[in-house]
């Protein structure tokens, strides 16, 4: 029976919502739109829709989830940066695509990091470098040695992954072949099929890891992964570079303080619910990490410097 814990969580939610209503006077003037910077069906979409659903139950606001795909969130955040700062639209996106574009095409972007009020983060995508378990290496040093003697095709689905490995190749004096793909699933297919010697996955690989079909070579984040505390990060293996995708919430800069506070609180409460935690854990294999408004801002600023480093600027 799943009903009892559910009822309990609803009851808690109702209490929190009542308490919240007593403190924060602000509520959206009409519906609150939670825009999702990606199309339907991905992990960002899953997070956005469950947060919108729980937030609606907790606050009683009319929260609408809306997909705004394009440029990994650039299209959506362009819209959010250039709209009235009334707190009626909140965006959910991933830091990496924004940072990559801000570093490479600052003149074409209609916003910078100061165009937003940051409201919090939902989770971190734990990006892993993996290889088939019969690969003749267990760490990045072994992979580099392998590449000295053989063709070493790597499967990647986002530019920062490729750049990080180009840095590794450059530092070690070897060459990789880069297979550009449409996503983690295709990376997995190429690795399992033997067409790629290693590649990237974020969470989808855990079952195969447990089955012993694949092994983990490195954590690409700047922290180790919660499910593999013994696998070192890329910086720990001697290459000072990392890729750290974080899901975050933001709204238009200049949004009044009371609206900001109410939105921050509503998001934090939704993220604290058991339902959101379960869905995020199940779909991302990552725990909820809410850095709060200040922490999110700091994460974005530090991320910009790291991405500039990745792109050699």
């Amino acid at each position: 029976m799943r009903l009892l814990p559910k009822l309990a969580s609803w009851a808690t939610a109702a209490v929190i919502a009542l308490a919240g209503a007593a403190q924060a006077e602000w509520k959206p003037d009409g519906p609150l739109t939670l825009q999702i910077g990606f199309g339907a069906g991905g992990s960002t979409d899953t997070i956005g829709r469950i947060v919108a659903k729980v937030m609606k139950e907790q606050t009683g606001w009319n929260v609408i989830a809306e997909n705004k795909p394009g440029g990994g969130g650039v299209a959506m955040f362009t819209g959010i940066a250039n709209r009235p700062a009334d707190g009626s639209v909140v965006g959910l996106g991933v830091n990496m695509p924004l940072l990559v574009n801000l570093v490479n095409r600052p003149d074409q972007m209609q916003f910078d990091l100061d165009s937003f009020e940051y409201l919090g983060t939902a989770a971190r995508a734990q990006l892993a470098l993996i290889a088939r378990s019969d690969a003749p290496f267990d760490d990045v040093a072994g992979l580099v040695e392998y590449a000295r003697e053989n063709n070493a095709p790597l499967a990647f689905d986002a530019k920062p992954q490729e750049l990080a490995m180009r840095k590794v190749a450059e530092q070690a004096g070897v060459e990789f072949q880069f297979l550009s793909t449409k996503g983690g699933a295709e990376n997995a297919k190429l690795i399992l099929g033997g067409q790629a010697i290693a590649g990237f996955e974020a969470g989808e690989h855990l079952e195969r890891l447990a089955a012993g079909d694949i092994k983990m070579i490195a954590s690409m984040n700047d922290t180790r992964h919660n499910y593999a505390p013994d696998t070192p990060t890329l910086p720990e293996q001697g290459y000072d570079i990392y890729v750290d995708p974080v899901f975050f919430f933001a709204t238009t800069a200049g949004t009044p303080a009371d609206a900001r506070a109410a939105l921050t609180e509503a998001i934090a409460e939704a993220l604290a619910s058991e339902e959101v935690a379960t869905v995020v854990m199940n779909s991302l294999k990552s725990p909820i990490v809410n850095l709060g408004p200040e922490g999110t801002r700091e994460m974005m600023m530090n991320g910009l410097a790291n991405v500039a480093n990745l792109f050699g600027q």
């Binding site: 559910k6 339907a40 069906g41 991905g42 992990s43 979409d45 899953t46 829709r49 469950i50 659903k53 997909n67 705004k68 795909p69 394009g70 440029g71 990994g72 650039v74 299209a75 362009t78 074409q108 063709n151 095709p153 530019k159 072949q177 880069f178 297979l179 550009s180 793909t181 449409k182 699933a185 295709e186 997995a188 297919k189 190429l190 399992l192 099929g193 033997g194 067409q195 989808e204 855990l206 079952e207 195969r208 447990a210 089955a211 079909d213 339902e275 379960t278 869905v279 199940n282 779909s283």
Partner: protein, 502 residues
């Protein structure tokens, strides 16, 4: 292989009243959203996923499978009745379905689509249930070089569908490829042809282009004829009852066509990322190639409908093969089913059959159940839809137009998507007026990104050495088959043309 009692318990779960009800609801919803131009089952599934969290896993996933399968049947309805396919794979169904509907036999055409869709779907489900493991290994062996060969073969097949003028066909295909290049390139991740519009950074949104070119242009040109009071489709009430049904002899006569379509759809479906459009058109082209009377294709031949529908529906079951065995989704709808699994804490992959045997056999039961329900609901639904479209054109077409606007706005980011849809509708209108094939354009547009990325991966694998292609004999074979197929199909095409002239 799990114990027999687990299999039976799973199948029993599928036929429990709650699951049955949710699968039925899914099929009804799927047929509805599939039949209404513009929305589509993928959109419906994406919206429904968070709500399945509160359900029992089998009921939730059964519901989504129902939506998906219902959508396959529903998608053929507007294609056949109004010549307004919402997706490119349904465009293959429209090529013979619409002419047959125009001859006063709309029920016969839609029923043939329903029967062949359910046949193809059931075939691939049986393959999934019985031999998914070896097929999954085969799919893994198909690397970038082999997929490139397959894409080249698919493009060669398009050459066989180009219509009278090869030059115009090539121009339409080139324009489609050009449209496919909008957005980030796979090699260097630099945006191409985006003109500062970050909405198209990931490429032009597929739903807006497909609906704009296939549905809106047709609806606008039909509205422009200003026959507002004429029924959108004629149905002779007193006519021959044989025109309103598909006889067993007619169905049985299409058995090889459907089998061929189902095999093509199952093989392409097992390969992640190829999709039902290539399957539908390759099946259609091979049915015409095998036919004694290729000139009758495009004029209401039942074999044309059977070929397209059996192939595009069998892709769905086969998409589940890499999903359940390897945890790799084969299409957008398969990816949505994975996320439904995952929010219930079930990770598709190598352990699935061991750890969740009962759920998986429940799912297989639900899939077969959905096929049966598709047949029953479809029989009733088709009558309803043919009644709906026998209303005056001014009602039917404007209502369809409205639904297209709503659907594209939902799926492709609001007003920007609607603008694109209208722009491409005008392009399709102009292309049709000057004799360029819109279908060729749209297939090239849909397959273009996969062709490009396979080419990029192949070049990286070959690492500058063309002789390395010899290490991929199967891929090389597919590449060599492409020009052979193009020539063979072009010869066949020219035959009826000459007959018509003399």
């Amino acid at each position: 292989m799990p114990e027999l009692d687990i299999i039976l318990a799973g199948l029993g779960d599928a036929f429990s009243p709650v699951t049955l009800l949710f699968v039925l609801a899914g099929v009804v919803l799927g047929q509805f959203v599939g039949a209404v131009p513009g929305i589509g089952p993928v959109m419906a599934m994406a919206i429904a996923i968070p709500f399945t969290f509160g359900l029992d896993p089998l009921a939730g996933i059964g519901f989504l499978v129902g939506v998906n399968k219902g959508g396959l049947v529903g998608g053929a309805i507007p294609a056949v009745l109004l010549n307004t396919p919402g997706t490119p794979d349904a465009a293959a169904t429209a090529m013979d379905g619409y002419p047959l509907a125009q001859q006063g036999k709309p029920l016969k055409a839609t029923k043939m689509a329903l029967f062949s869709s359910v046949t193809g779907d059931t075939f691939s489900d049986i393959v999934l249930i019985t031999v998914s493991a070896p097929l999954a290994i085969f799919a893994l062996r198909m690397g970038p070089v082999e997929v490139l060969g397959l894409m080249m073969l698919a493009f060669a097949v398009i050459a066989g569908l180009m219509g009278r003028s090869v030059a115009k066909g090539l121009i339409a295909a080139a324009l489609g490829l050009l449209a496919a290049m909008v957005g980030t390139d796979p090699e260097h991740a630099t945006p191409r042809f985006i003109f500062g519009q970050f909405e198209v950074y990931d490429g032009l949104p597929l739903p807006a282009i497909a609906i704009g070119m296939l549905a809106i242009s047709e609806l606008l040109s039909r509205l422009a004829q200003r026959q507002g009071t004429v029924p959108a489709i004629r149905m002779d009430k007193g006519g021959d009852p044989a025109d309103r049904r598909v006889s067993w002899a007619e169905y049985w006569g299409c058995r090889f066509t459907m089998l061929r379509g189902a095999v093509i759809g199952t093989i392409l479906g097992a390969l992640p990322g190829i999709g039902s459009t290539a399957a539908a058109f390759m099946s259609y082209a091979s049915a015409r190639q095998a036919s004694d009377d290729p000139g009758s294709f495009g004029k209401g031949n039942l074999h044309g409908i059977a070929a397209a529908e059996s192939a595009n529906s069998s892709v769905m079951g086969a998409n589940m093969i890499p999903l359940l065995t390897l945890g790799i989704p084969g299409s957008v709808s398969a990816a949505l089913i994975i996320s439904a699994f995952m929010i219930h804490g079930v990770q598709p992959g190598p352990f699935l059959f061991e750890q969740q045997g009962r759920l998986i056999y429940g799912l297989f039961g639900a899939m077969i159940l959905a096929n049966l329900l598709n047949l029953i609901v479809g029989q009733l639904g088709l009558r309803l839809w043919t009644l709906v479209v026998s209303a005056p054109q001014s009602f039917v077409f404007t209502a369809a137009l409205l639904m297209c606007f709503v659907g594209v706005s939902l799926a492709s980011g609001g007003l920007f998507g609607i603008g694109l849809m209208l722009g491409f509708a005008v392009l399709a209108f102009v292309m049709t007026a000057f004799g360029f094939s819109v279908v060729v354009f749209i297939i090239a547009f849909f397959l273009g990104p996969r062709l490009e990325i396979s080419l990029s991966q192949t070049l990286a694998l070959l690492n500058g050495n063309p002789l390395a292609l010899l290490n991929y004999p199967f891929g090389l074979l597919l590449m060599l088959a492409a020009p052979v197929a193009a020539v063979a199909l072009a010869r066949k095409r020219s035959v009826p043309t000459r007959e018509e002239v003399t």
